[in-house]
């Protein structure tokens, strides 16, 4: 099962996704992240992908959508600890050109 957990660190919200990211699971992931963003208004949203076991292009849409949302609110999106499986799609998508991707969770 795919699930997501959140840790608030001051103005930073860390969202750790665990499991498979596809069109089906993206719907609830998007809903949960956006609810937390609306409620907590973090300056930085960090998406931790270390525990992602599968990701297709739906995940790119999810990342880009959150990037847009954070940018519009004057905040920032950081993608951290990209796993081997999520890295394949992220690498070919070209989003690394606009995104802040870190190896370590800050």
């Amino acid at each position: 099962m795919t699930n997501i957990s959140f840790v608030q660190q001051g103005k930073r919200l860390v969202a750790t996704i665990c499991g498979e990211v596809d069109q089906h699971t993206c719907a609830s992931l998007r809903r949960e992240i956006d609810a937390r963003l609306a409620h907590e208004l973090p300056a930085v949203l960090e998406l931790d992908l270390q525990k992602v076991t599968f990701m297709d292009s739906s995940g790119i849409g999810l990342i880009l959508g959150r990037y847009k949302r954070m940018s519009e609110a004057g905040g920032k999106l950081v993608v951290s600890r990209v796993s081997d499986t999520s890295g394949r799609v992220i690498g070919m998508s070209g989003i690394t050109k606009i995104l802040d991707i870190t190896e370590e969770q800050k």
Binding site: D22, F54, L64, R88, V89, S93
Partner: protein, 145 residues
């Protein structure tokens, strides 16, 4: 070429079946001793094709998706993903990177780009109103079991 092994799947276009169908095809491919990287590529490409059938082919309706996977004698894997949905009017446009037929969505428009990047060959046959068939081919480097 003569098939060494084959399988067929038929299931309703529910998004919960994206996970099931890519796992089933990759389990079939894993009957050969193939690399983890090739398995991940196949899984991702199948997920993209099935997702297209669900959200574009059948859009708001529900229909059936048919997958056939064949392993040829030379260890080439050929996967066809077929739907009887609305079809694609302009295949060339649909295959453009970042083009998406669904406006105001969070679709990245990278489905066909991912399939092309991860498989050796991708071909699409479609007619408006008559469904779409996507054929994915990958030559597998493996030891015969």
């Amino acid at each position: 070429m003569k098939a060494k092994n084959y399988m067929r799947l038929r299931f309703p276009s529910k998004s919960v079946n994206e996970s099931f169908s890519r796992a089933a095809v990759s389990a079939f491919a894993a009957t050969l001793d193939i690399t983890v990287g090739d398995l991940a590529d196949i899984k991702t490409a199948v997920s993209e094709a099935v997702t297209n059938s669900i959200i574009h082919g059948y859009a708001d309706s529900e229909g059936e998706i048919f997958i056939q996977a064949v392993i040829a004698a030379d260890n080439t894997l050929k996967i066809t993903v077929k739907d009887n949905g609305c079809g694609i009017e302009d295949i060339k446009l649909a295959m453009q990177p970042t083009y998406t037929g669904i406006k105001n969505s969070e679709r990245s428009g990278l489905g066909f780009s991912v399939m092309k990047a991860f498989m050796d060959s991708v071909s699409v046959r479609s007619k408006k109103g008559c469904g779409t068939t996507v054929t994915l081919i990958k030559k597998l480097a493996c030891e015969d079991a």
